[in-house]
């Protein structure tokens, strides 16, 4: 019997490709975000609003992952933004290699801000670095205010939190204050935004922040 000491990170291959992606995006001075949420929290709607708000000010590219269909890419494509759909065929998260291949389709274009929309999932997406600058988690008020405590890892690893669908608060028992408190208890550094894609509330503040970040990378 013999023992081989290994001590290697299981995700080392993914992490190495993620670093390659990060380097490539930095070389081109592109600011990138990886948007994660549970299904139906409103990621694509927020991205639509973001694109409409910013497309005259900054050159945007879009990569989206879904288990099936290219419906999300079609929604953003309609807004005149170069979009690449990754169909994961059942895989519950994007990984760095999928993003690397998708980015090849955008690499010749002049892009300043890259939005990567992950598969709707708060568990598996937490483990995979894609090479993005920042992870943004979206949590809608209709999901209840305890999501940060139920899925602490993704909230801890995110830089920003968008609390979406705030226009529905009058009809719900969940509290935005409790949601914020729970999120900050898991990650006190979280930058919190409150948005409604129906009324447009909070979208300007989020977009201004994106503009600032994009300028910093330039």
């Amino acid at each position: 019997m013999s023992l081989i000491t290994v001590e290697r990170k299981v995700l080392e291959t993914n992490n190495a490709i993620a670093e390659e992606n990060r380097q490539k995006l930095h070389d081109k001075k592109i600011f990138s975000v990886n948007m994660v949420s549970s299904p139906g929290a409103g990621k694509t709607s927020i991205i639509e609003k973001t694109v409409l708000n910013l497309k005259e000010k900054v050159k945007i590219g879009f990569i989206v992952g879904d288990l099936q269909t290219s419906l999300d890419a079609e929604r953003i494509d309609k807004l005149g933004i170069p979009s690449v759909q990754i169909v994961t065929n059942g895989a519950c998260h994007l990984d760095a290699s999928l993003v690397k291949n998708a980015y090849k389709e955008l690499s010749e274009l002049d892009i300043e801000f890259l939005i990567i929309e992950n598969v709707g999932n708060l568990v598996c997406t937490a483990e995979y670095d894609l090479g993005e600058d920042l992870k943004i988690v979206v949590s809608s008020v209709t999901e209840g205010d305890d999501k940060p405590l139920k899925y602490p890892i993704i909230f801890r690893k995110s830089f920003g939190l968008i609390v979406n669908k705030t226009d529905l608060l009058p009809y719900l028992n969940s509290s935005i204050e409790v949601l914020r408190k729970n999120a900050l208890s898991v990650n006190p550094k979280l930058q919190v935004f409150e948005t409604s894609c129906t009324t447009g509330a909070g979208i300007d503040e989020w977009c201004n922040w994106i503009m600032e970040k994009t300028k910093q990378v330039k």
Binding site: S2, T13, E127, I153
Partner: protein, 114 residues
Amino acid sequence: MHEVSIARNIIEIVNSYLPATNNVSVKSVKVKVGAFTSILPDALRFGYEVLTCGTNLQDSILDILEVSLKVKCNICGSISGGEPSFLYCHSCGSHDVEIIEGTELNVSEIEIFN
């Protein structure tokens, strides 16, 4: 159910240590899984068993060492244990803590029959 892809990564790492020329039999593969990862040990064992079935690793055991969460307080410097949903310093109560243990997801040892 990303544990299946995680199991695939583990198998690739193990195979990279085995000589391609002769049939080495692996007894066990030790992995460390931190409490602050999104990995379910039972699902990982299941994924490993399914993926190794009919391969050179069929009879090997995936030995999972679960690593507890440990945080260090940025305010008072104390070290505490805890649960992933409740990250705070047990001495002063601050939530401003760094995770110092519990994020591991490593292949640590491979035991082989000579």
